[in-house]
Amino acid sequence: MYAFDIERPATIADAIKALGSGETQALGGGQTLIPTLKQRLAAPERLVCLSGIKEMQGICTADDGALCIGGGTTHATVAAGAGAYPALAALAGHIGDPAVRNRGTIGGSLANNDPSACYPAAALGSGAVVITSNREIAADDFFQGMFTTALEDGEIITEVRFPVPEKASYQKFEQPASRFALVGVFVAKYGTGVRVAVTGASEGGVFRWSEAEAALSSNFAPGALKGLALSADGMISDLHGSGAYRAHLAGVMTRRAVAAAG
């Protein structure tokens, strides 16, 4: 780790001000950033710690029934407090281990957009709205490829709004070492249709599987997926599995998610 300064703003406004000057980096729960710093793979002059901002914490329900989660809310808090959206609570409860869940935040995870992270699948699969310090971004527009998002410099995620579906499930097949998603599939059934988001598999990061969505929108049953398969092209191929294996797993996990959603 290189030496750095740290600021601990108490409000979103102060955080934005702090992020606006010099070579700064926002620090959420630090579950990716701190190991990166320890490896000396990043050298920000100043960190702006978001975990002391009360207005970015917690879970509530909006008038339209959407579940609103503050950007600084930890996975453990979501696991315990998002009972209105059980599939989301279950997803949060299976990220990493208790130490990770007590530090890592939803905003940090989405802003990082790790191609194997769980939350991007939930946000995209739910058609969530990412609310930042200066705008609202639809999940469909937010994720722009591996570790890339629509966020601009100095912009932070203050809240994420999840429309609550009729049924949903997230099925994660864990990479044996990291236990990140080798492939994770989030399936959510809304009155307007079904959304299917796949994480872990693609070189382009989280994506929607439109053929599966169409098939499930007309018949929300595992059997509706029969004959559908993702191409191995563009899938991640590494020590833990080939692109073909990931494409295959995406199909299996989608079927299992539909079955689990009931």
């Binding site: 044996p176 070492a177 020590l239 599995g241």
Partner: protein
């Protein structure tokens, strides 16, 4: 019922109180006044010519005390290898130098190039980044067979080739083995990889060097399984410091699994630099550094053939193994694929003819050396896999095939140079059938099918050689050290004892189990016995802890020393009671005269030894302190039978271990709870190898599994509750406790059971899968099922 604290009692581990309450004293807890810190600049290429190391800018950085490079170690010895193997043509192995800091070339990612000593660790690291390197990258050799091809780049320019040795065992049997294969009714062949592993003890390595200017003495605090061995190797071969001017301390050590046996460059560096700078110098290894500097384990590529006659009797075994040495010869590396592997190829079976060929190869990778089991897991895996494959090819029950070929008469001289003293392989198999509930398997398989899972049952036997080793024998085999063990028993005036052992405990529980032995022998409470280990200044010269040798060899030395104590105490007691020494009996801490009601207590005798007012001073020296060295006459041969039940998810290839049972014969048992714990840990590591762990290099020699993000360690939920049993006991015939050793059995005996179980599961649904190389990761199992 054994007495609590005595032999046979599951006495709770006394050392756990300090470990569990954060009061352990590990090497990284040692901070000396004026201590400086070292950071090693390491090669990020696998193979390169070191043209220039420019430390000019770095030397002026804040806090820097001195920067060392390979030049500073010219004229200083290299890291020695402790075992010289002679090849099948009578030539000694090729043995390259191993400098403390790289000289001329770098040979693996992680090879240390420069060492920056500074006031703080961060300053040392900052300065290391300012060192300018001119490295001409050379093609790396990673694959062993490619490394042996004509024209392959050489890891060591001064050697003839990348072949360390070509070992044949037993060379004289080769023609007879080939002949047996020619006339065999059936031959089963299996090609397999026993993959490279990283030991990953919980505590990374640490070294603190210290130099006392007033006495001229050097001290090294280090995470070692054998401080005396480090003192000998580093003092005599690297730094030229005689033993009486060098102290090596290995305090509490958080696991080793073999990786902390060896003498490492960082130990020599810190000792050397402390003297050069006249300040203590500390190095604490990061986990990332551990992945690329701790000696790795296994890494064999093997072809094994098993020949059977028409009645399914094993008639011959022939193996061809390539064993990776890495870039340099680590301390005991040459012995692992040879004398710790070839000698176990008979397993539990009366195969009359065996020939083992091993080609040890240098590559641009981290050195490979002993890791829990060391050679014996490699032997067991190939043998028990090929037997299982043979049973399937022949359509016979794998247990029946094994039973038919079991050795049943002891002592048994194998065709691979060792003599098993005792054993009862049918007994452990009978016990396994009972505890694993084979009868219930069919119903369990059905239940798995109902969930859409494939269930498989795999079994295997194992034998291993522990209690290394008779010094005269290993000397003939190339060991450059003796392998006895030592103990000093010091009785204090008021009756308490301190046992100073040359063994070292880094998780094994010696402080509890060794005390149980001495307490039992004298008949006193175990709380009166303290076990001291880990400091060359206060323990007799001993060879340390590895190879499941501590109770068999170190425990035997302790028994011998305690016997001397008891004999002397009896003479004193005889004097005190005015009786003949021959009539003195010791029971429950009381000396009595046989046939009378006269007695004196243990404490009366120990007090007399130190306050010799009424004492036979003319015949007996005062004091009560004895030392014994014990050199075993043979190895010990623990053996057993293991069973594993797995479920395979056919859609994903994921394997889960549903049941695991182990029936072991460890001879006599001192502390059953500790023995169970050792077996549990060993099985955990074996399951880790079978399903999860693999150290992978790419073709350029870059380590692809350099962190836990990619190197899969077993976690608690990867393993089931085990059924372990060690009630089958055929005591060792040649050591005083009748013990065999239990530290490695679990890691040796479990991988084949897991793989056999997965093959069983896949074949149960008609998949023609005969082998999958470890680790049986989901993607590999799924891929195998697609064929």
């Amino acid at each position: 019922m054994p007495k609590d604290g005595g032999i046979g009692a599951s006495t709770k581990r006394r050392e756990d109180i300090r470990f569990l309450t954060g009061n352990g004293n590990y090497t990284d807890d040692i901070n000396l006044r004026g201590q400086a810190y070292v950071h090693f600049l390491r090669s990020d290429v696998a193979h390169g010519r070191l043209n220039k190391v420019d430390t000019g800018d770095a030397e002026g950085m804040p806090g820097v005390l001195r920067i060392f490079t390979g030049k500073d170690f010219e004229g200083v010895g290299g890291l020695p290898c402790g075992w010289q193997v002679t090849d099948r043509f009578g030539e000694v192995m090729q043995e390259p130098g191993h400098p403390v800091l790289a000289q001329g070339k770098v040979r693996h990612v992680g090879d240390p190039i420069a060492a920056v000593v500074a006031e703080t660790y961060a300053q040392a690291r900052d300065a290391a980044e300012a060192i300018v390197l001119d490295i001409e990258e050379l093609p790396a050799v990673v694959d062993m067979k490619a490394a042996l091809k004509e024209g392959a780049p050489k890891v060591h320019d001064e050697l003839k080739s990348n072949l360390c040795y070509d070992w044949g065992f037993v060379e004289e049997n080769k023609a007879a083995v080939d002949e047996a294969f020619a006339k065999a009714a059936h031959v089963t062949t299996l090609e397999l990889v026993n993959q490279r592993l990283v030991a990953n003890p919980m505590e990374p390595r640490v070294a603190v060097g210290d130099f006392n200017r007033s006495t001229g003495d050097s001290t090294l605090y280090t995470t070692s399984q054998n401080p005396h061995v480090i003192r000998l190797l580093m003092g005599a071969f690297v730094l030229g410091i005689p033993e009486h001017k060098l102290r090596v301390v290995a305090p509490d050590v958080g696991g080793g699994f073999g990786s902390k046996i060896f003498h490492y460059a960082e130990e020599a560096f810190c000792t050397f630099a402390a003297k050069a700078l006249n300040r203590p110098v500390k190095w604490t290894c990061s986990r990332s550094e551990a992945f690329m500097t701790d000696a790795h384990g296994r890494d064999h590529v093997t072809k094994i053939e098993l020949a059977l006659d028409k009645d399914n009797n094993f008639i011959a075994i022939r193996t061809d193994t390539h064993a990776n040495m890495g870039a340099y010869l680590s301390t005991f590396a040459p012995s692992v694929p040879t004398w710790l592997h070839g000698t176990l190829m008979a397993g539990n079976y009366k195969t009359p003819l065996i020939y083992v060929n091993v080609k040890a190869v240098f590559t641009n990778t981290v050195p490979v050396d002993a890791y829990r089991g060391a050679g014996r897991p490699e032997a067991t895996f190939q043998l028990e896999r090929v037997i299982d494959k043979a049973a399937r090819e022949l359509g016979v029950d794998p247990i029946a095939l094994r039973r038919q070929n079991f050795i049943t008469e002891f002592p048994y001289a194998t065709p691979v140079a060792v003599e098993y003293d005792t054993g009862d392989y049918h007994a452990t198999m009978d016990k396994l059938e009972e505890i694993a509930d084979f009868k219930g398997f069919a119903a369990r398989r059905k239940a798995s099918e109902a969930k859409g899972r494939l269930r498989g049952l795999g079994i295997n036997c194992y034998i291993e050689a522990c209690g290394i080793a008779p010094s005269n024998l290993v000397g003939q085999l190339g060991a450059r050290a003796g392998l006895y063990e030592s103990a000093t028993v010091r009785v204090n005036a008021t009756g308490g004892l301190v046992v100073m052992t040359g063994s070292h405990s880094h998780g094994q529980g010696h402080e509890t189990s060794f005390a149980q032995v001495v307490a039992e022998m004298i008949g006193i409470d175990a709380s009166m016995v303290e076990i001291v280990h880990g400091d060359t200044a206060n323990t007799p010269m001993g060879m340390g802890t590895y190879g499941s040798r501590s109770i068999a060899v170190g425990g035997s030395a302790m028994v011998r020393a305690t016997e001397k104590i008891i004999n002397k105490a009896k003479r004193i007691a005889a004097h005190l009671m005015e009786a003949s020494e021959a009539d003195i009996e010791l029971k429950d801490g009381q000396f009595s005269v046989a046939g009378t009601d006269k007695s004196v207590a243990w404490g009366d005798v120990t007090l007399a030894a130190y306050v010799p007012h009424n004492y036979p001073l003319a015949e007996v020296e005062p004091g009560l302190e004895e030392t014994a060295f014990y050199d075993p006459s043979n190895f010990t041969y623990p053996a057993g039978a293991y069973a594993c039940e797995v479920e395979v998810d056919p859609e994903t290839g994921r394997v889960t271990i549903e049941r695991f049972a182990a029936a072991d014969d460890f001879g006599n048992i001192i502390n059953p709870m500790i023995v169970s714990g050792q077996v549990h840990g060993g099985i955990g590591q074996g399951i880790g190898q079978a399903l999860l762990e693999s150290c992978v290099y790419d073709e350029n020699g870059q380590l692809q599994t350099g962190s836990y993000m990619d190197y899969a360690m077993p976690r608690a939920d990867d393993v089931p509750f085990y059924r372990v049993d060690h009630s089958c006991q055929t005591p060792c015939t040649h050591n005083p406790l009748g013990v065999k050793g239990c530290g490695e059995a679990g890691a040796i005996g479990s991988p084949p059971a897991v793989v056999n179980a997965v093959i069983d599961a896949l074949q149960s649904v008609g998949k023609n899968v005969t082998h999958i190389d470890m680790p049986l990761s989901p993607s590999r199992v799924w891929q195998a099922m697609q064929g």
